[in-house]
């Protein structure tokens, strides 16, 4: 067609103007008299303030047989205090226009509060009460346990969640907490009651090991007074230093099919563990992983989506499991996506070809340049909201990183060359050291996958 082209005036591609300097915000770090650490960051115009709380209560600390107690405790914090019942607490929080989410993960418990700045003081008071004096009523905890038990079948039915559970069970030693679901199993959750929740709280939740990150537009707010009156009123005992066990994993190349008869797609999750954010290779690994599968113009989607149409999208990523200054941490390095059932064998074949070609030929300078321009260039967009800034600052705290880690990461990415990025991504995804989980119709995919020779194939029931 040339009808439209004939009449529109074309202009050459414009060149960029001068970039306005932008830096990841530097938080102000301080401590309340009770030992609670506070990071604050004034972001003009951000009327919804974000508060992130880090509690040093790792999943590793859950008592044997009580997987999920940290999750139930995190949820039960907002189920009533010494002043309010569970229903009153929920109502007061929503009266502030606030949202409060809490979840437990390997490094600890995270609580996220978002609230319009004008109601921050009120909401901080509720949050502080939840931390300082949770009631953990028997009836509410029992209800949360039952609710959690009801959630489990929904998670198992979700192909992506099921794949993640199967991969953890494959990679980590049976005795390790990381091998088991973060929020517990039916068997372990059934054992949780108000007494075990309270015991976990008393053992692991105290101001000296808690950090609060507060980000937003503080104009007209006396944040010092607000913090002193709320989180500052919490008292607690000192804590013994915590030693995290090293993370080990068996990444012998193999395939596990979680059988889903009749599934129209196969969920892929291909992974192993590798360098975390304390490792010097991290920026190169971020860069190389982006080139492999960060977006739909990366190597994997260029073939699997844009050439073959096997998938809506396949991504490669590195997700920190736990990252500590002593170097015992690790990140999950993985490739995930879903492909139509009939294309499962051909898609995996192409995926392995992409990895082999990458190892043989390396990244190009042009690929590296575009990746750096994207990863560094999107920073001001990515950190426009208070919640995004608070989340990253809280991650840094949780991972024992300096407060300027993200700001420095941009300089380190810009200084990373093609050769380093290639080496990092090839080391991260070696073709013979990847555990492949496929959630799909075994009757249709088992033989084609066996024929690929990417490792022994086992079928488990869905």
């Amino acid at each position: 067609m040339s009808d439209a082209a004939a009449t529109m005036t074309f202009h050459p591609q414009p060149q960029p103007g001068a970039a306005t300097p932008w830096a990841f915000p530097a938080p102000e770090r301080g401590q309340l008299p009770n030992g609670l650490t506070v990071l604050r960051c004034h972001r003009p115009g951000q009327q919804v303030v974000a508060v992130e709380i880090n509690l040093d209560a790792p999943l590793e600390a859950e008592p044997a047989g009580l997987d999920g107690v940290s999750t139930i405790m995190a949820r039960a914090l907002s189920e009533g205090t010494d002043k309010l019942t569970a229903e009153e607490f929920a109502a007061e929080l929503e009266r502030c226009g606030a949202t409060l989410d809490a979840h437990a993960d390997h490094p600890g418990v995270r609580i996220s509060l978002e609230v319009p700045a004008s109601r921050l003081v009120k909401a901080l008071g509720l949050l502080a009460d939840a931390l300082r004096a949770p009631a953990f009523p028997d009836g509410e905890v029992e209800r949360l346990v039952r609710n959690r038990l009801d959630e489990i079948p929904h998670e198992l039915a979700n192909p992506a969640r099921r794949a993640a559970m199967a991969l953890s069970a494959q990679l980590f030693p049976a005795g390790s907490r990381m091998s088991r679901p973060r929020q517990g199993t039916e068997e372990s959750v059934e054992r949780i009651d108000a007494a075990s929740v309270r015991a976990f709280y008393e053992a692991h939740v105290r101001p000296v090991t808690t950090t609060a990150v507060v980000v937003g537009d503080f104009t007209g707010l006396d944040l010092d007074a607000a913090l002193a009156d709320t989180l500052g009123a919490w008292t607690g005992s000192p804590a013994a230093p915590r030693q995290a066990p090293p993370i080990t994993a068996d990444d012998t190349g193999r395939v596990v099919i979680v059988d889903r008869p009749g599934a129209v797609q196969t969920q892929l999750l291909i992974g192993r563990i590798g360098a975390d954010r304390h490792d010097r290779v991290w920026p190169a690994q971020v860069l190389g992983t982006y080139c492999l599968g960060g977006t739909l113009t990366s190597r994997l989607d260029r073939v699997l989506r844009e050439e073959k149409g096997y998938t809506y999208g396949v991504r490669a990523f590195g997700q920190v499991l736990r990252s500590t200054t002593d170097g015992t941490g690790a990140a999950m390095l993985a490739i995930s996506g879903s492909v139509d059932t009939a294309s499962t064998g051909p898609a995996l074949d192409d995926l392995w070809t992409v990895l082999r070609t990458l190892a043989a030929e390396g990244l190009t300078d042009a690929e590296r340049d575009v990746a750096v321009q994207n990863l560094v260039g999107v920073a001001p967009l990515k950190y426009e909201t208070a919640a995004a800034v608070a989340g990253t600052l809280a991650d840094q705290v949780e991972q024992q990183l300096p407060d300027d880690f993200q700001a420095r990461l941009y300089e380190r990415l810009a200084a990373t060359g093609t050769v380093e990025a290639t080496a990092a991504v090839v080391n991260a995804f070696p073709v013979d050291r990847l555990v492949t989980v496929l959630v799909g119709d075994a009757a249709q995919i088992e033989e084609p996958v066996k024929a690929l020779g990417i490792g022994e194939v086992t079928v488990v029931t869905g």
Binding site: A263, T297, Q373
Partner: protein, 451 residues
């Protein structure tokens, strides 16, 4: 004035302003300056969505949206994505019942590139569109359908509810993803005709928000978009008007392999842009919008009959809006018990209306949602386009919160009484089957109509 609970002095608009412009070819332009962060959002809404599709070609608007990323006269292949991402920007497009939108958020100094790219495809997409792109993106979209709907428990629930709530032949009877058969049937010529009909400057609104210079931006818009020829082959969408209420309950029972029983329902609600729609939003928030809502308290806290229970609102302009109830049952609980409790709560609410405390909480929640939407330049750009395309008045985006805060408890009660009752809903019940049964019985969805 019942507006005592605003969280911000200027109730959501936060002092934001926008200017409106129109090019000779009909392209409407909305600009809004905000220099706090060096970013700029470009958003382009085309006034075309799945409601414009014809029988046998469902999913075409969305498939076409994918083709818009496959290159144009001066942009090769995946160049649109490559250039934006290489400039440190982010981008995407989405398709709904009533519109298709495309957006780029850029570092401010890269704004001109995004405008050049959008203009290139608006003016010259067909010079690049070919069979290879069509076949490839057809497969991608079919896999999108499988991933997001067909391979997920309850994944096709919304599609089934929509099909019941809007009768056969109604423009909103089908959802934007379309059917596999229609995606297979779409031809390159269909795509070309779709572009010629709907992708005209006069059928679009462009908004640019952020660290921009209004005069300079307008000059760029004129330079890149100004020479795109006007054309107006567009037919108005089929009439989407329906009676205010359904008149009788519709019901479908789905027996398939899902993790638990579920009760879902779609209620026919007032059109977006009316006070009644804002009142309905508040009613659904009080009833099912959070952890202090009536349905959460009743079903999840007190009766312990549900894992989760809530209401959502799909605001629509060209047809009645849709209130979507979603309750996932706890183990062992029967759907009729849940349904009786829901009906009990709805009837009580219709009789009594919200308490002052409930009203305050619901307005505070909706206000925060608006503040969130306006907190980013891309969110603001999208809302300006929305109000420009759907209501012809972009400025209304900046005062939407005030309108929600102006609604009275009596208006909330009135809309609940008029709309939230069994004779105005389509009900979808899920009854789980064992895996073996599901395999042998894949087409055994039965339809029942209540008396």
């Amino acid at each position: 004035m019942p507006m005592g609970h605003t969280a911000t002095q200027q109730a959501g608009s936060g002092g934001l302003t926008a200017t409106e412009h129109r090019l000779a070819n009909g392209l409407r332009v909305v600009l809004s300056e905000d220099h706090l962060t060096p970013v700029a959002a470009v958003c382009l809404w085309y006034d075309v969505g799945s409601r414009h599709e014809v029988k046998g070609r469902t999913g075409l608007a969305h498939l076409f949206e994918h083709l818009m990323f496959q290159g144009s006269a001066q942009v090769k292949g995946n160049g649109h994505f490559e250039l934006v991402q290489g400039a440190g920007g982010s981008l995407n497009g989405t398709t709904s019942f009533e519109r298709t939108n495309y957006f780029e958020t850029m570092p401010a100094h890269q704004l001109e590139l995004a405008l050049w790219l959008e203009a290139d495809r608006m003016g010259s997409l067909l010079t690049a569109l070919d069979d290879e792109s069509m076949e490839n993106q057809r497969d991608v979209v079919k896999n999108e359908r499988r991933q997001r709907y067909d391979n997920v428990p309850y994944g096709t629930a919304f599609e089934k509810l929509t099909a019941m709530a809007y009768p056969d032949g109604h423009p909103y009877h089908h959802t934007p993803i379309g059917s596999m058969a229609d995606l297979d049937a779409a031809s390159l010529e269909d795509a070309r005709a779709f572009f010629r009909t709907y992708y005209a400057p006069g059928n679009a609104v462009l908004s640019v928000v952020g660290d921009i210079d209004t005069e300079q931006t307008l000059a760029w818009v004129e330079k890149y978009f100004g020479s795109i020829p006007a054309h107006d082959g567009k037919q108005p969408p089929r009439d989407g008007s329906l009676p205010d209420v359904m008149g009788k309950e519709l019901r479908e029972v789905v027996r398939e392999e899902v993790p638990s029983r579920a009760l879902m329902a779609a209620y026919r609600l007032p059109h977006d842009g009316t006070r009644e729609a804002d009142a309905a939003d508040l009613a659904l928030t009080v009833l099912g919008g959070g952890e202090s809502s009536r349905l959460h308290n009743r079903l999840v806290r007190h009766d312990r009959s549900a894992v989760a229970a809530g209401f959502g609102l799909l605001r629509l302009v060209g047809a009645p809006s849709l209130g979507w109830l979603d309750v996932k049952a706890s183990g062992g609980v029967e759907v009729p018990d849940i349904e009786a409790a829901v009906d009990d709560e709805l009837a009580r609410f219709a009789a009594e209306g919200p308490t002052p405390e409930e009203m305050e909480r619901a307005q505070a929640q909706l206000e925060r949602e608006w503040l969130d939407r306006l907190a980013t330049v891309s969110g603001r750009a999208d809302e300006l386009c929305r109000f420009a395309v759907l209501f012809g008045a972009p400025q209304l985006a900046l005062t939407a919160v005030e309108r929600v805060l102006d609604i009275t408890p009596e208006e909330v009660r009135a809309v609940a009484k008029a709309r939230l009752h069994p004779d105005n809903r389509a009900v979808l019940v899920y009854e789980p089957t064992a895996p073996e049964a599901a395999e042998a019985d894949v087409t055994a969805e039965e339809t029942e109509t209540a008396q």
